[in-house]
């Protein structure tokens, strides 16, 4: 049952790459955005909050289309990036990662923001009175204490990226080796007669990956909590 066809192996490897890159690359902006929303009051905050959540409520196809129009080779941003930095998103795995990152971003920001909000501000104040400038307070107090939320956010984004379908296929299509992730490969197999065994194999693989990611994140969070409470 588990002898994968070359196309399936390619799809699995691509999915892992796309999901990992999407989750890791969105971490820095997600942490920055979460901190901004959790700790700062500024005009337009509610609007920013709503904008970040848009991918959660928009049809994925719409998100994919917006990406196609803006980040495609003739899109406003996409053309500039291609010309000046040589970065190409359209019909590449990088585009799939971008689509997955956008779709997973709200989930990631939510998880991190909640955990930043739970960090006791009095500890941050204590650090400031000890001479720590704001960036140091953030890096040494806020971020380490919000760590479980950061891990949870990254895992959520990774899982979301594995399952992402609509935005990816709209933006970068379904090209084996470039943009055909597990979901897209399953969709392809649904269209051909006799594809059931392939579908089962890929479904089993995505189940294993998602389960593994969840277990890993649970372990990371527990390890951190254990460090804080360990008895000597």
């Amino acid at each position: 049952m588990f002898d994968f066809s070359p196309d399936e192996l390619v799809a699995i490897r691509l999915s892992l790459k796309v999901a990992a890159v999407a989750a890791i690359a969105s971490l820095p902006p997600a942490i920055a955005m979460a901190w901004l929303l959790a700790r700062r009051r500024f005009p337009g905050r509610a609007l920013l909050d709503a904008l970040i959540h848009l991918p959660l409520v928009l049809p994925p196809v719409v998100v994919g289309y917006v990406l196609l129009v803006t980040m495609g080779t003739r899109g406003l941003v996409g053309a500039w990036l291609l010309e000046h930095l040589g970065i190409r998103f359209a019909f590449r795995w990088t585009g799939a990662a971008l689509a997955c990152a956008v779709m997973g971003f709200p989930l990631m920001v939510r998880a991190i923001r909640l955990s930043i909000e739970q960090v006791d501000r009095r500890l941050e104040h204590a650090a400031a009175t000890l001479g720590a400038p704001p960036w140091k307070v953030f890096l040494t107090i806020t971020l380490p204490l919000a760590w479980p939320g950061v891990v949870a956010g990254a895992v959520l984004a990774f899982a979301k990226a594995l399952g992402e379908f609509g935005a990816t296929i709209t933006f970068v299509s379904n090209i084996p080796g470039q943009s055909q992730t597990i979901s897209a490969a399953i969709y392809n197999l649904l269209q051909v007669p006799g594809g059931e065994s392939g579908i089962w194999r890929l479904a089993a693989v995505s189940l294993c990956i998602s389960l593994g990611a969840l277990v890993l994140s649970e372990w990371l969070v527990r390890r951190q909590r254990g460090r804080e409470t360990e008895v000597l």
Partner: protein, 205 residues
């Protein structure tokens, strides 16, 4: 030593607080709600007064007329809060050293001397959650001293402790007062507690 003239906003009315004192260890007392903690917070930079001036040892920390408002981390004000506020993800040693990076050569208080003064040598490897209230408060005092402050604020550091722990901590506080020579502002609503420690008393109504 300390020259304050503050207008603090409190809900709909403002309160004026004026303190001018040359006492090295000044006790600040008064009934609860008199704004003792607010005064400390204003000095530390946690609370911005509506207007006024804060001068500590000749250094202007805040002056609304001259638009001076030093950020918290540049004020060199050590603050011992009612609760110890130790960082839970660091052991005692790292807590103590947290503020220690500041002007290493101008260090007035050395690590070993502070550890010795407060009797916390045996606690260095422990996590804050495994400390008693009195131990945690001693570590908090040490942490504040090691940030090399120009003024130490103590906000009822005994109030979160039971009577036994209180008795345990008072000798350490007295040692900090007499042996460090550091200017201090000590908030308490127990007059007897401050009489043993302070050179002067300011009462807020």
């Amino acid at each position: 030593m300390l020259d304050l003239d503050l207008h603090l906003q409190r809900g709909s009315f403002t309160r004026q607080v004026r303190i001018q004192s040359d006492a090295r260890v000044l006790a600040l007392t008064g009934p609860s709600g008199a704004g003792k903690t607010s005064v400390l917070n204003a000095i530390a930079g946690l609370l911005r007064p509506r207007s006024g001036r804060i001068v500590v040892d000749g250094q202007v920390l805040f002056d609304s007329e001259r638009r001076v408002d030093l950020p918290m981390h540049r004020r060199r004000i050590g603050y011992v809060f009612q609760e110890a506020r130790l960082f839970p993800h660091m052991d005692v040693q790292r807590n103590l050293r947290y503020g220690g990076h500041v002007q290493a050569q101008a260090a007035r208080f050395g690590f070993d001397a502070v550890v010795e003064l407060l009797g916390i040598a045996s606690l260095l490897q422990r996590r804050p959650r495994n400390l008693s209230g009195g131990e945690a408060q001693r570590v908090a005092i040490g942490r504040a001293l090691l940030s090399q402050p120009a003024l130490l604020l103590l906000d009822e550091p005994l109030s979160a402790l039971d009577a036994a722990r209180r008795g345990e901590l008072i000798p350490y506080l007295r040692r900090v007062c007499t042996e460090t020579g550091l200017p201090m502002l000590y908030v308490s609503h127990h007059p007897d507690e401050v009489q043993q420690l302070a050179d002067g008393v300011h009462v807020l109504e």
